[in-house]
């Protein structure tokens, strides 16, 4: 037991006022659910718009100290094509170790040119942010400077109605912002940074806001009829149905981007040229296929299979493990993800899940479980 005090986000008082059930998460006192409850919060986000407080995540500038494109230095730590990002474009990537294991996953943006061409904007996971930022600062010393953006909060507005709400409140141009694109809006003197991305499989935005304006922004959003406050509980079930990885569960230092099914996030140039940690391992897996793969698993019955559930073959031999599992409210039944040997990774392969000593039938399925609602021009 730690007696350490939990950190709070600038929206803490609002969460309490809204009647949220608060739980410790990554060192922060965070809302797991509001009075609506996880099930309804989840379904509301798939039909309307949900507002999430993700201010616990780490935001930072990476600033070039050499005058070179900061993307060149950052590419030595991640397998994404960062140099290829145009100003105002964002990309998903992973910090890798020398074995190709994943230290964390992140979003990197080459900001709009008005921010300056000397920098990248980074968003990393709450639980990893201190390690990530010191890892980057140490590895790229003399080339990139890390400037944590501790005076900014981060909100996510997610769901099929998010674009209508954003356009109504902040300007029509937000409805035409491309997927993974950035926009900067002056809202009553507050400098808002929008990116059209999220962690629910729905259309929507992540909005970086000065900490002292975060609560008024959240109140304005919540006053819109389509918007409900959504807690971390529904955030987890939404991302699970969307087939998105949760760091420390579905991906960690023992998994590579190839095993995790994240090959799409490795830049084409980088697959051949390398220049990132673990390239040998990743290149070999790209050429020969990884020995195991992250897959979707759909249990046939109603019993959820939680993280750590053994995956069995027809003979009862253990072939893998569930890394995320629970109930998918949109599907109305249990859903899971986990790793299996490549011979079992094909869509439709029957497996069994060992839940409390019973072998329950399940099938390997393609991810995501629900079709994505991302904005496409």
């Amino acid at each position: 037991m730690s007696s350490e005090t939990l950190k709070t986000t600038p929206l803490h008082a609002l969460h309490v006022e809204l009647g949220a059930k608060m739980v410790p998460f990554a060192g922060y006192d965070m809302p797991v659910q509001y009075p609506l409850g996880i099930l309804k919060e989840h379904l509301h986000t798939r039909e309307g718009a949900g507002l999430f407080d993700v201010s616990h995540m780490g935001q930072a500038w990476l600033v070039s100290e050499t005058g070179d494109d900061p993307a060149i230095a950052f590419e030595s730590l991640v397998p994404a094509d960062v140099q290829g990002l145009a100003p105002g474009q964002q990309r998903y990537s992973q910090l890798l170790n020398d074995d190709g294991g994943i230290l964390d996953d992140l979003m990197v943006t080459r900001p709009l040119s008005e921010f300056g061409s000397d920098r990248l904007y980074l968003v990393v996971n709450a639980a990893c942010k201190d390690q990530d930022l010191s890892h980057i600062a140490e590895a790229l010393k003399g080339r990139l400077r890390v400037e944590p953006l501790e005076d900014r909060a981060l909100l996510a507005l997610q769901g099929p109605k998010a674009a209508n709400v954003a356009a109504r409140l902040f300007g029509e141009e937000l409805s035409f912002l491309p997927f993974m694109g950035q926009a900067r809006i002056d809202w009553l003197g507050a400098d808002l940074w929008f990116s059209r991305s999220g962690y629910t499989g729905e259309d929507g935005y992540e909005i970086s806001v000065p900490a002292d304006k975060a609560e008024s922004l959240a109140r304005v959003l919540l006053a819109e009829p389509e918007v409900e406050a959504i807690g971390l509980g529904a955030r987890d079930s939404l991302r699970l149905e969307a087939g998105l990885c949760l760091y420390g569960h579905d991906i960690d230092t023992t998994t590579t981007p190839v095993e995790a099914g994240l090959v799409w996030s490795i830049g084409k140039r980088r697959r051949t040229d390398g220049g990132f940690p673990g390239f040998d391992t990743v290149a070999k897996q790209l050429a020969d296929g990884a020995a195991r793969k992250r897959v979707g698993i759909l249990p046939e019955g109603r019993a959820p299979a939680r993280e750590g559930t053994p995956i069995l073959d027809a003979d009862g031999a253990e072939i893998g493990m569930v890394t995320s599992g629970g109930f998918g409210p949109t599907l109305g039944g249990p859903v899971a993800m986990g790793y299996v040997p490549k011979g079992f990774a094909k869509d439709g392969t029957p497996v069994f899940l060992s839940v409390r000593g019973k072998a329950l039938p399940a099938n390997i399925v393609k991810l995501p479980f629900v079709p994505p609602g991302f904005y496409r021009v």
């Binding site: 099930l39 019993a303 109930f327 409390r356």
Partner: protein, 123 residues
Amino acid sequence: MADRKFSEEHEWIEVDGDVATVGITDHAQEQLGDIVFVDLPEVGTELNKDDEAGVVESVKAASEVYAPIGGEIVEVNDTLTDNPALVNEDAEGDGWFFKIKIADPGELDDLMSEAEYKDFIAD
């Protein structure tokens, strides 16, 4: 109304002759949140007091349900298999879990009264 007793594991038990009906308390369902799955014991199972009798799962997590007294399971509430949300709607009524044939009525003495349970959850 028959006598109702409560366990520290948040089960309620109502005795009717030599058979007792068991469920989880309204406080427990509220703590769990939206219930999406209930695993019930099989009829005929012999359980000792405090044995695991079943599992109740919310969107977020799984929790065990224990037998507040020992005995033989004589009936289970099959409705919960298809409608686990009934536990949220009426935990201490239609959302009951199972009926157990009481092996030793003396074990009932270890359980709390309603007033004692209210104090217990207030702490």
